[in-house]
């Protein structure tokens, strides 16, 4: 049995601090939250990409983290799993022998011009079939979104509603990039097309930030009742059905089984809305809607903060921000804050069971974690 003892995160935004300083801040908050000293941490798992565009030119980040933490005795492992780094780090922590394992996710994406970040993120796609054919990350997701829209008669308005919902949620999240920034449906619908049919406001934010969580074998008020990791083929075009990601369906199925629950038991969700279309597909792959009916959840307001199944109360990757490897851990941060009644203006009433869905690539690496508020 594993529990979450404490969580911490920096504001997701543009930071002048170095990657290690961002980690330091998130770790400090997580330790304070857990009310425990660093010396009680047995292992650290750090999720961080291998970017050459963070302006830092730093490999062997374990050593850097060790330097800033000033404790040479803690084993540190680095996980590189693109946007799923945080989720994979968490999954590893749960599967480790450590009594207290500190999971950290961090990324700096703002120091380089967009074209280099686009290129950097594209390296998580297949080199010969996809990268050379111009399939940047938005382009990959645009092709999938188009397949989804053609197959299930979804439209750009559905995507816009997902974007609007997540921006409304981020408005109340002080850690979100779009905190107190008003975004309207008009702004979303009139934003420039990045890769048709996806517009700028359909895409998540490449941003800086770090998040930390302490996974413990000691009982706390937050239990991890489901944890699964699935990997699938890298290019989405290889999937039989591009509109459904096997990684998500399998990871969800396993996590629900471990937790002994069904999707109906889940109170709120943080999904990997790297693109608004991914959120719609995730509704279905996670079992909250039948295939093709995900759009109904957003149309009927079910996934809004006051709906029956609130999704991405943090603002999601779309409006909280998406510092790649930090995202998966930041989802846990939001779930814990909600469960402990610390979510301020975006606080939900029902927070007994929360689910986090983290994806690397276009469905090639997926984690699903289910958390339960004991006594909640």
């Amino acid at each position: 049995m594993h529990y979450i003892k404490g969580v911490g995160m920096t504001k997701f935004g543009i930071h002048a601090e170095t990657t290690q300083e961002l980690c330091y801040e998130a770790i400090m908050e997580a330790l304070d939250d857990a009310n425990m000293p660093l010396s009680e941490i047995d292992e650290i798992i750090i999720a961080k990409g291998d970017s050459q565009n963070d302006g830092e030119r730093q490999r062997l980040f374990q050593g850097v983290l060790s330097s800033i933490l000033q404790d040479e005795n803690i084993p540190i492992i680095q996980i590189v799993a693109a946007c799923c780094g945080g989720g994979v780090a968490l999954w590893n922590a749960i599967n480790s022998q450590a009594k207290n394992c500190l999971v950290v996710g961090v990324e700096k994406l703002t120091p380089s011009p967009t074209k280099y970040i686009t290129d950097d993120l594209m390296m998580a796609s297949e080199r010969i079939y996809e990268q050379t054919e111009g399939l940047s990350f938005p382009a990959q997701n645009a092709l999938i979104a188009q397949q989804y829209m053609m197959k299930y008669k979804a439209n750009s308005d559905d995507l816009a509603l997902v974007s609007l919902k997540n921006h409304e949620n981020a408005f109340g999240n002080p850690k979100a990039r779009f905190y107190k920034k008003k975004v309207t449906l008009d702004m979303i619908k009139n934003s420039p097309v990045v890769a048709s049919p996806l517009r700028l406001f359909d895409c998540s934010l490449s941003i800086d930030g770090a998040a930390a969580a302490i996974v413990s074998k000691e009982e706390t008020d937050i239990e991890i009742i489901g944890s699964s990791l699935y990997t699938d083929r890298l290019p989405a075009f290889e999937s039989q059905d591009m509109t459904s990601w096997d990684g998500t369906t399998l990871a969800a199925k396993t996590a629900y089984k471990q937790a002994g629950i069904t999707p109906n038991d889940v109170d709120f969700v943080e999904v990997h809305d790297a693109f608004t279309s991914v959120e719609l597909m995730a509704y279905e792959d996670l079992g909250f809607a039948k295939k093709g009916e995900g759009k109904e959840l957003i149309r009927k307001g079910i996934t809004k903060i006051n709906g029956a199944l609130p999704v991405n109360t943090s603002g999601g990757l779309k409006a909280k921000g998406h510092p790649v490897s930090a995202t998966g851990v930041s989802q846990i941060y939001e779930i814990v804050k909600q469960m402990r009644g610390q979510a301020e203006k975006r606080q939900l009433d029902k927070t007994r069971i929360g689910l986090a869905h983290n994806v690397g690539g276009v469905g090639s690496t997926v984690t699903v974690h289910i958390l339960k508020h004991i006594g909640g």
């Binding site: 079939y129 092709l143 990045v194």
Partner: protein
């Protein structure tokens, strides 16, 4: 073309060329299709370094087997359109193929797309790869041995028995050593094909536009397939289909061609050669300070094929976003081929869709940051040995030297340049009428170690204004000492 590697029981498909089914240990069968339906389209508006020109489209293709593949295009497609590459209709057509893990299949498919190009079992083929210095295939200095293997396999499948592979290394390098290191000799051995060192050929004298060439006899007697590595070149911007033909002539002709400006004499050579097919090897390709090992692999994964070497080079130059060099313009003016990419028929991948700025070669770069070349289009021997000398001095601190080479030196090129060292007869003679006295003159016939010792002495003595008798004596002694040491 969409390829899948399928298990013999048909249960599994790979996008990678696996040799066996890891589950059943059974055989793998290739599933190939050249016709597909457009099932998805996105218009991309954000640029990236690999894809700087926007907007572009990416279409998602699906073949009859249900296999899919994305394809970048500048053309507008609609859902359900048929995507099929039709064969060329003109002789100057350039076939562009982005290889998806299978060099052989893409080469075979590309050859079939050429206009009026047939292989007969009676053909006597000469394959002319590019092997300029000892280097491994992955360094993109020499033609990729895997591509050569693919071509010979294809020719053998077409019952061509009489094939030779012929080339000579850049002047100053050993051909056999270069061919061995590149893996090309191994391919020849595998197929039991002779490798001919063109530097030892019998030559035939031919004159073109008042320039006399001594051309290797084999080249004139056989059906020629030219296999250049597509590279950057610090002397002439790009080495491709035209430049690769330089080494079919003897040493003296090569030197003379540079003396009279390679950009003017190279088209004359192409004019006098029989027509040939070029298979531009960009399986790796080179960028930055080519064409030697100073360049960098470009990892292009492409092939460029054409019966028109001018068209092929022009397309590659535009794809890499380089300025068109004079020899291409000259060749086009002479009617040797088409250099206007608006007129050239492009088959396969689109030129606009593959444009990507390769790193250009610096004109003055050597391996030593303090030794710069001022290159008056020196002949390959001088150019090559100048680079080798500077490479030997890497790691030594010193003050900048400008190594002047070649005969096409102008006063402008020397403006504000100090510490000039004239290397080779042409440069030494050229500086005299210009009234410029270099720090030193290094004749090409000087012993190699002596040359290096002299250059070292100039590099390390910033106040040196000229070479003294003592310097020369010291370098002779060092050279003698090294020789004695090597002997024992």
């Amino acid at each position: 073309m969409i390829i899948r590697w399928v298990s013999e029981d048909g249960k599994r498909k790979w996008i990678y060329p696996v040799k066996k089914d890891i589950y059943t240990k059974g055989k793998i069968i290739k599933q190939i299709s050249t016709k597909a339906k457009v099932i998805g389209i996105t218009k991309v508006n954000i640029p990236s370094p690999m894809h700087p020109i926007t907007p572009y489209n990416v279409i998602l293709l699906e073949d009859g087997y249900g296999n899919r593949m994305p394809k970048k295009t500048m053309k507008e497609y609609k859902i359900n359109d048929v995507y099929e590459i039709k064969p060329a209709k003109t002789d100057s057509a350039v076939i562009i193929a982005k290889i998806k893990y299978d060099i052989y299949e893409y080469l075979k498919h590309s050859l079939k797309l050429l206009h009026n190009y047939n292989i007969s079992s009676k053909d006597k083929i000469l394959i002319k790869p590019s092997i300029i210095e000892p280097a491994y295939s992955y360094q993109a200095v020499a033609t990729n041995s895997e591509l050569l293997d693919a071509l010979i396999t294809y020719l053998r499948e077409n019952n061509v028995r009489d094939i030779i592979v012929a080339e000579q290394a850049m002047l100053g390098n050993d051909t056999i050593e270069s061919a061995a290191k590149s893996g090309i000799l191994d391919v020849c051995k595998k197929h039991e094909i002779p490798f001919v060192d063109l530097s030892k050929s019998e030559y035939v004298e031919k004159t073109s536009d008042n320039f006399s060439f001594r051309i290797a006899k084999e080249v004139l007697e056989r059906k020629l397939i030219n296999m250049p590595v597509m590279k950057t070149n610090s002397q002439i911007v790009v080495s491709g289909a035209m430049e690769n033909m330089l080494r079919v002539v003897d040493e003296n002709t090569q030197k003379k061609m540079f003396e009279q400006d390679i950009e003017e004499t190279l088209p004359k050579l192409i004019k006098i050669l029989p027509n040939f097919l070029s298979i531009g090897d960009a399986t790796i390709g080179m960028q930055a300070n080519g064409p030697t090992l100073l360049g960098e692999p470009a990892f292009l994964n492409m092939l460029f094929l054409s019966k028109d070497p001018v068209a092929l080079d022009s397309v590659f130059i535009e794809a890499g976003i380089f300025a068109k060099p004079n020899y291409i313009k000259e060749a086009a003016l002479m009617g040797l081929g088409d250099s206007d990419t608006n007129n050239i028929e492009i088959i396969g991948d689109e030129l606009e869709a593959i444009k990507y700025p390769l790193k250009a070669a610096e004109k003055n770069a050597t391996a030593h940051t303090k030794i710069k070349l001022i290159d008056g289009k020196a002949n390959p021997y001088i150019y090559n040995t100048a680079l080798k000398m500077s490479a030997k001095l890497v790691g030594l601190l010193g003050q900048e030297i400008n190594l002047v080479i070649g005969s096409l030196i102008t006063k402008d090129m020397l403006q504000e340049k100090t510490r000039l060292v004239a290397y080779g007869k042409e440069a030494i003679e050229k500086l005299k009428p210009l009234g410029i006295k270099p720090v030193a003159e290094i004749p090409e016939e000087m012993d190699d170690i002596e040359k290096i010792m002299l250059l070292k002495s100039i590099l390390q003595n910033p106040d040196k204004e000229s070479i003294t008798v003592i310097d020369k004596l010291k370098s002779k002694i060092a050279s003698f000492g090294t020789k004695i040491k090597n002997k024992f």
